[in-house]
C-alpha cells in the first residue's frame, strides 16, 4: 500500500493491487473505491467551517459524515473537520502529482 498523506490523526493510502483507496480514521480504516473517495471528497468539501463558529448555525460544533452509502458513520468535531479537509486536499494533490509523473 502506498501512503498518500498522513496527518496527526488520519492517513490516506492507495492500494495498487485492489485498485482501491484506504482512509485511516485512527480507530478504524475504511476501504474506498475511487467513486466512494470522490463522494467523501464532496461531503468534506461541502462542510461549512464558518458555521462551527456560529452558535445559531451549528450549536454542537460537530459534523456527521456517512460513507459508502451509509455503511460507515463518523462524528467529527471542528478540529477533526479541519484535519479531514486538509487530508482530502493533500490526498488529491498527491494523486494529481502521481498522474503527472506517470503520464509525462
Amino acid at each position: 500500500m502506498n501512503l498518500l498523506f498522513k496527518s496527526y490523526n488520519f492517513a490516506s493510502y492507495q492500494c495498487d493491487r485492489s485498485r482501491c483507496f484506504y482512509i485511516d480514521f485512527g480507530h478504524k480504516t475504511v476501504k474506498l473505491s475511487f467513486c466512494q473517495l470522490l463522494s467523501l471528497r464532496q461531503k468534506v468539501q461541502k462542510i461549512d467551517l464558518d458555521s462551527h463558529f456560529d452558535k445559531d448555525l451549528n450549536y454542537s460544533g460537530i459534523e456527521i459524515l456517512t460513507l459508502c452509502n451509509r455503511e460507515h458513520l463518523f462524528i467529527l468535531d471542528t478540529m477533526q473537520v479541519i484535519e479531514m479537509k486538509e487530508l482530502i486536499k493533500a490526498t488529491f494533490g498527491m494523486l494529481e502529482l502521481n498522474s503527472l509523473v506517470t503520464h509525462s
Partner: protein, 171 residues
C-alpha cells in the same frame, strides 16, 4: 504507484467540481425562467410565457448534458438544489433584462471553466464546453434582440401586445 485516478476518470477532478457547479447554475436558470413564465401567464402575456417555458426546458437540457458528461467520464454528478428564485417583476422589460443578465453571468461562468480546462490541459472537457460557448452567444443575442424591440416600440398597451406576439414567434 499506479495512476488509478486516471484509469477511473477521464476528466480533471477540479474541472468536475466546476462542472457540478455549472449543473446548479443551469438548474437555477431553468427554475428562474419558469418563474418568469408564470408571471407572464398571470399578466396576460401568453406569447412571452410560452417562450419562457421553452427557455426553461432548454436550460434543463443544458443541465442534463453536463450531468451525463460527468458520469459518462467516470466522475460523479450531483443533483442540484435550487433556491433563491425571484417571482416578483415590475414589467416584461424587466424580465428580459433580468434574463439577459442571467445569460451573461452563465457565459462568464462557462468561459471561466474553459480557461481552467486550458490551464490543466483537460482538452476533452474544453472540447465538450465549446458547444456551450456557442450556445451562450446565441442565447445572449436572442435576449438582446428582444430588448431592442422595447427600445424601438416602447412599453405601453399596444406595443406590449405586439412585442408579446413577436416573442411568441421567436422573432
Amino acid at each position: 504507484m499506479k495512476d488509478i485516478v486516471r484509469q477511473k476518470i477521464g476528466i480533471n477532478v477540479d474541472i468536475m467540481d466546476m462542472l457540478n457547479e455549472q449543473i446548479s447554475k443551469e438548474a437555477h436558470s431553468s427554475s428562474a425562467y419558469l418563474a418568469m413564465a408564470s408571471w407572464c401567464d398571470h399578466n396576460g402575456l401568453t406569447g412571452s410565457a410560452e417562450f419562457l417555458y421553452k427557455q426553461s426546458l432548454e436550460e434543463r437540457d443544458h443541465m442534463m448534458k453536463i450531468f451525463r458528461f460527468i458520469n459518462e467520464n467516470g466522475g460523479t454528478a450531483y443533483s442540484p438544489e435550487v433556491s433563491n428564485i425571484l417571482h416578483d417583476f415590475n414589467s416584461l422589460q424587466e424580465i428580459f433584462e433580468t434574463a439577459l443578465d442571467q445569460e451573461i453571468a452563465i457565459t462568464k461562468s462557462i468561459n471561466n471553466i474553459v480557461a481552467k480546462c486550458r490551464k490543466v490541459q483537460d482538452f476533452a472537457s474544453e472540447n465538450f464546453l465549446q458547444w456551450f460557448v456557442h450556445e451562450q452567444m446565441e442565447e445572449e443575442n436572442q435576449f438582446r434582440r428582444i430588448l431592442e424591440m422595447f427600445d424601438l416600440m416602447g412599453t405601453d398597451g399596444i406595443a406590449l401586445k405586439l412585442i408579446d406576439e413577436r416573442i411568441k414567434h421567436g422573432e
